[in-house]
């Protein structure tokens, strides 16, 4: 960093418009990282003003600066250790009194401070007048008003930052809060710190003393590190605290908070004037409906339905328009790669196409995510989110979850069709570490979109007569399993995790701005692309190798080659007498087949007659002879050859599928599937199903695709349903039910696992999130299949029995008492 570059930190309470200020100052040059060791996001941006470069760090929004929450601790540590040149305290101008509470703490940390009174427009509209000059005088720091949402006050703020940075070191006399009867105690502790430790140079002494009176754990451990006799010193502080509390009848924390609020109220009163009272009445009137006992839950269901409808249903429709773009990408890759031979596909070709397909499968979700993230941003900005938590907390907290688990669960798919990735990502907002982890761990068990194709496939074959019922069962059963699982996790592995109080602000409603919502949506989609797709790409490579190798032996390869030669010989005999025999000799026929495939792809992608005609012209130009065969134009000979090529192509496709199937059978993944059969047999899974399930580890859509490859078609056009029903005669609805339940409890896909790692901040929890659903799923499938078979239940009976069991378990688990965390 050059000498004229400075670090500026933005500090402020939640809902004060801090991110708007950050965006206004930095524009597009931002970067998201994590603070080391915690899952708190670190937002860094860059700005340039008056020839000075600034690195701007957006600290997490906090009400205070204690060591109880990771956010507060991160903010505090940054200020103390990274020593920014200027700290900008952003505050909501309408909420002066409460915001000053944080300002006093920043003043006590003796940082070069600028006060930014943001959202002045809202305050003015509410009839609040603030005398900023008087406020600046009373606080002894610069105060700049702004309403960054409308772009007002940016330059003034930059000027103030520059002025404070220039004046570094020459700090005037800062006003300090008079802690009254505690002052004597503070002075005594300060003296001891000065005399007995080397902390004075590094930390403001008065701040240390106040924190010690508050029994702040972090400062206590600082003392432990820097004092020759820490126990003696800390017990001295303890004695002083008890003495103070006995004399004043108040805990030290209460006394300190009281004094701060009194000072804030005093300054607020002398520097601001309010014409209208009660600005919360509008929000209150809305809440009378939104939090109403009957209307509230109904509105909540409505909001969730709209969220689903717009993102999942309409977003899916949108993919009809975006998919052709991705398909073009694939055909571009196809055209560049080495062309396939008659039965030997070059490894490079199959690898790159597999890779493109894997990435495309994810990129295809972008429209859905974009809509979803925009809607979430609207919910966040409007202030509805805390209401959602308020309504749902009672229900969810019974299961060890949190009111704020609602949104992640909705995104994960509480009915059918969510996605665990944004679900897990949105767990960030849950303040309670234990509920947050419980939520992260159960979200993969909800019904994401990718699980649906397998359900549809199995229901269509095995529950054809009760499709509606079976679909309802599978849609709702996941919630009935998730709640008891969450409770069980909370009572066992998560028992010792830290919890946090629920206490949550209910901010007034705001009208979200178009720019704010769009910006956040774009930022999050971009983050998703960057973080998730890179990992998925890496895993796609691994799975490819597992499916591809060791591959067919020379002997089997020879076997298939002989079959191919036979088919070719038949073909050549058929067309011998025609004029086309010449051009189709040797590689000619392979060229024709590739030409035909290319033609078909281009035709299907050409929208409209004009474009189709253009494709015709293009292909005619490339090879007029092939063109006449493909379109059977040019008399009976062309027709005859056209038929013969079609027959040959069918034979070739069959061969390729057989080879693929055999390659998968012999592959590492296939062998794993076979090795697992002794265990999975009890759940009703044969090794083919195992292979399909294993391949679904990368992405669940793969399960149906792999099953498709394993159950090869004999006649062209036969649907997978028919093939599976025919090939697996021993497969009953009970098997299907066990398989579906296993799919519900299937471990997270790779993208989700990465999200779990990011949000839980640990590889161990990621591995746990993959292992426990596997065990649970296999147990449930075994219970249903072996239990159902032992009792002689049909698939439908077993379905009802299991539903009843899950419902009973959910109710019982909900009744198991929660011990108070604070008693």
């Amino acid at each position: 960093m050059s000498a004229d570059s400075i670090i500026v930190a933005l500090a402020g309470q939640p809902n004060c418009g801090k991110s708007t200020v950050f965006n206004a100052l930095t524009g597009a040059s931002q970067h998201v990282a994590n603070y080391p060791g915690v899952t708190v996001e670190k937002m860094v941006g860059w700005s340039k003003a008056n020839g000075r470069k600034m690195e701007i760090v957006d600290l997490p929004g906090t009400y205070s600066l204690t060591s109880y929450s990771p956010e507060e601790q991160v903010a505090r540590d940054f200020i103390l250790h990274d020593k920014p040149s200027v700290v900008v305290n952003v505050m909501d101008a309408s909420n002066l009194n409460r915001c000053l509470y944080l300002t006093f703490q920043l003043l006590e940390m003796e940082m070069p401070l600028v006060l930014n009174l943001n959202m002045m427009d809202v305050a003015e509209r509410n009839g609040l007048r603030i005398d900023t000059e008087k406020l600046a005088r009373r606080l002894g720091i610069r105060v700049t008003p702004s309403s960054m949402k409308n772009g007002r006050g940016k330059q003034e703020l930059l000027d103030s930052i520059a002025a404070v940075a220039d004046a570094a070191g020459s700090r005037g006399n800062l006003p300090r809060i008079d802690y009254g009867p505690m002052e004597v105690f503070l002075r005594e502790i300060e003296e001891k710190i000065k005399a007995e430790t080397s902390l004075s140079g590094e930390y403001p002494r008065r701040w240390l003393a106040i924190k010690l009176m508050e029994a702040d754990r972090e400062v206590q451990s600082l003392i432990r590190e820097h004092h020759a006799d820490p126990d003696g010193f800390l017990s001295f502080v303890d004695v002083k605290r008890t003495e103070f509390e006995r004399e004043n009848g108040l805990t030290t924390e209460m006394h300190i908070a009281n004094r701060r609020y009194q000072a804030a109220a005093d300054i607020g009163k002398s520097c601001s004037e309010s014409e209208k009272e009660n600005k919360i009445t509008v929000s209150d009137r809305i809440d009378r409906l939104v939090c109403h006992r009957l209307a509230g839950p109904l509105i909540l269901v409505g909001v969730i339905w709209i969220l689903y409808y717009l993102s999942i249903v309409q977003g899916y429709n949108l993919t009809n328009y975006t998919w052709p773009l991705l398909a073009k990408l694939r055909s571009l890759a196809e055209s560049v790669l080495p062309a396939p031979g008659f039965i030997d596909i070059p490894l490079l070709r199959s690898f790159v196409l597999w890779f493109v397909d894997s990435i495309n499968a994810l990129l295809n979700y972008i429209p859905i995510f974009f809509i979803l993230f925009s809607l979430i941003a609207i919910l966040e900005d409007s202030g509805y989110m805390p209401r959602m938590a308020f309504i749902m907390d009672r229900l969810l907290s019974r299961y060890g979850l949190h009111g704020q688990s609602t949104l992640p669960m909705v995104l994960g798919g509480i009915y059918v069709g969510g996605c665990a990735v944004p679900g897990v990502m949105s767990c960030k907002g849950i303040p309670d570490a234990r509920s947050r982890l419980a939520t992260i761990l159960i979200i993969p068990l909800l019904n994401c979109l990718a699980k649906v194709p397998l359900y549809v496939l199995l229901i269509n074959i095995y529950f054809a007569a009760h499709k509606g019922l079976a679909m309802f069962f599978i849609s709702t059963i996941s919630l009935l399993m998730v709640l008891p699982v969450a409770k069980a996790l909370t009572m066992t592995v998560l028992r010792r995790m830290e919890t946090a109080p629920f206490v949550m602000e209910m901010p007034p409603y705001h009208l979200p701005t178009f720019r704010g919502v769009l910006g956040r949506a774009v930022e999050r989609v971009w983050l998703f692309i960057r973080k998730i797709t890179t990992i998925v790409a890496a895993v796609a490579v691994v799975i490819f190798a597992l499916l591809q190798f060791p591959g067919l032996g020379a002997e089997r390869q020879g076997h298939y080659q002989a079959l191919a030669d036979k088919a070719l010989a038949e073909f050549h005999a058929q067309i011998e007498a025609t004029t086309y025999a010449g051009p189709l000799q040797g590689d000619g026929v392979t060229d024709l087949i590739n030409y035909w495939d290319g033609y078909k792809t281009e035709k299907s992608q050409a929208g409209g007659q004009d474009k189709a005609a253009a494709v015709d012209e293009e292909f005619k130009g490339i090879n007029p002879v092939f063109f006449s065969i493909v379109n059977a134009e040019g008399g009976p000979e062309a027709k005859k050859v056209n038929r013969a090529v079609k027959k040959l192509d069918r034979a070739r496709r069959m061969l390729l599928l057989d080879m693929r199937k055999e390659r998968i059978d012999r592959s590492f993944l296939g062998r794993m599937g076979q090795a697992l059969e002794p265990v999975t047999r009890w759940a009703g899974f044969n090794w083919r199903v195992n292979v399909a399930l294993l391949s679904a580890l990368a992405a669940k859509e793969s399960s149906v695709a792999t099953l498709g490859a394993l159950y090869e078609p004999e006649e062209g056009g036969e649907a997978l349903e028919e093939r599976m029903a025919r090939t697996e005669e021993g497969f009953t609805p009970l098997h299907a039910l066990a398989l579906m339940l296993f799919m519900v409890l299937y471990p997270p896909c790779i993208a989700t696992a990465v999200a779990v790692k990011l949000q839980s901040g640990s590889v161990r929890w990621m591995l746990f999130s993959m292992a426990y659903p596997m065990v649970l799923g296999l147990s449930v499938a075994t219970l249903v299949y072996s239990g159902g078979a032992a009792l002689g239940l049909t698939g439908l009976q077993a379905m009802f029995a299991f539903y009843g069991l899950a419902l009973a378990l959910t109710i019982v688990m909900g009744l198991v008492g929660n011990k108070s965390d604070f008693a």
Binding site: S64, Y261, I391, R394, V503, M504, M506
Partner: protein, 74 residues
Amino acid sequence: MTLDQVKPGGKCRIKSLSVRDRLSQRLLDMGVYPGLSVKVIRNAPLRDPMEIELSGYCVSLRHDEARFIEVDPS
């Protein structure tokens, strides 16, 4: 009397917090401190949590947390 016993619409004055550490600090930081007058606005549809109005803004908390807030009805 403790805050969780106050019915919606009821007003009271906070006397003291009968809890320490995490919860008490959080309450203090959110503006719940002795001497302040608060009004209970409503309970959630399933009764818990509750919403209270402090000086100019609203906060929701669980009854399980409110029972550590000692109040005088006013």
